[in-house]
Amino acid sequence: MRGNKSRWLNVLYFIMCVSCLAYFSTRLVFAGDPSGTVNYGADGSIERLGYSINFTWTLVAAFLIFTMQAGFAMLGGFLQAKNMLGYIAHCFIDGTLGAIVFWVVGFALMFGGSNAAPGLEKGNAFIGFSGFFLSSGSYDVETVMIWLFQMVFATKAVTIIAGAVAERMKFVPYLIYSTCVCGVIYPIYGHWIWGGGWLSSLPYGAGCVDFSGASVIHTVGGMLALTGAWFLGPRMNKFNPDGSSNAIPGHNINLVVLGTLFLAFGWFAFNAGSTLGATDLRISVIAANTFLGGAAGASIIIFASYIIFGYADIGLSCNGALAGLVGVTGACAYIPPWAAIAIGVLSGLIMWGTVIFVERKLKVDDPLGAVAVHGANGIWGMIAVGIFADGTYGGIRGCITGSMEQLKAQLIGALVAMAWGLCTGALLFWLLKITIGLRVSELVEYEGVDIHLHGSPCYPAQAELTSQLDTTEEE
């Protein structure tokens, strides 16, 4: 009964995927001349050795970034135990199904035409269209390497939204939404900035610059999260009839702290890896700035919450750390360490302000603070490039060097990201809402999505009592 309609939609969706895969696969088997093998060890030129160092660096960075998926899953400690499985299922699906979607279509839309690697020749300033399925020309070690690095980025962007729609979203709409974001929405904006698109060639400063995703990942992700949470509506009991809101405590702050630490760990590679090369020694400054930004964001919240509440609020401070990390993501390569700290401190405060703003003014319920952490700080991160870049790297010069040009480019980039995220998000969630519906029934929400959508509580009871439960097999 429950979810029967969605079940068939799922079947449909699944058959569609499979047949589309099958069609292409057959074509691929017979694709000519796969060029997937290069070994630079045998041949001794310095260029090739330098190339393989950079190659390895990017690959290792991709591996390390992957641990962020675990970090995101751990943030679920902020949620109620009865919905935990639903949230980590979303994270898990974003990371697995998302990889396949990005392989099929996302990568081609994003990097086609960028000429970043073999097989990515076709594309224009608005969209790319080569590299689908990593087939024929793009079945090359370099292209595959870049795909892997970009894939872990893309799946992170999708996962941001999982936190905002947690505890109340239906399963099939989430699948569809996740596919669309990873396959279309994220890659198109990404193309504009990183794939050789129009934003990167704005006539101000060095064009719109986003070192490792302040706008591409965080602003777009945060805006999608906002629309998602908006269309879904608040969780049961979140807002009182008089408009005031209630705290809905999570179940495991320890897990949140660990998740934040693993995210910070991945973030090192996330930012430093974005040079795509280890011979670019700026990586040390990038890594140090990344961490200082996060540390500053965390520290300011510790102090602020202690002064305001008399308690050092660790959960909020974890959000502060993430806010700081998001805040320096765009600028980390272009700034000196002291600027990273300044950005981090402001990020922490912006995060807290936005949490209050979203809840009190917008009346939107964002359980994990995705809008505050990623959305608001993504925008701030873009602006920060225009302010703090000191001109020592890549020639990017912000206000502190006396030039306002770069700031203009950054503001345009940030505004376009906001507009893109809000518009596509609104369209997508509105379509889903009027067709199959977004939200689980009240009963499901009351009893938790875990047992209703995933068939089992996340933490099946194991006390003396229930381990004795008479369990009988059926069908």
Partner: protein
């Protein structure tokens, strides 16, 4: 004095508690139990295998009130926590021969 033990649905606890408090009976003790009456249990899956859980979680509320208040409290609970489907729960009433308030040492009705 009587003790009223009400076994109700967890999702009804909130409004039941509020209703009781609205009538001025502040003191209560609450615990989690599992049980079944005529209820059949639900099925869950574990790694691809369905199984039946036949004890359902319930909330037990214990309230001690003076004899004349029993009926009112019982009716309030029934009114607020009834859904009409199986699993709504039971209320049991029993005698309490004495009560003490630890803080003051008061006894009997004064202690409730």
């Amino acid at each position: 004095m009587k003790k009223i033990e009400a076994i109700i649905r967890p999702e009804k606890f909130d409004i039941t508690k509020d209703a009781i408090e609205d009538q001025g009976y502040g003191g209560m003790s609450v615990s989690e139990i599992k049980g079944h009456g005529n209820q059949k249990g639900v099925s869950e899956i574990w790694r691809g295998k369905r199984y039946r859980v036949d004890l359902m979680p319930k909330i037990k509320i214990e309230i001690v009130v003076s004899d004349d208040a029993v009926e009112q409290v019982v009716q309030t609970i029934i009114a607020t926590s009834q859904t009409g489907s199986i699993g709504d729960g039971k209320i049991f009433v029993s005698d309490i021969s004495n009560a003490y308030r630890i803080r003051t040492g008061e006894q009997d009705d004064a202690a409730i």
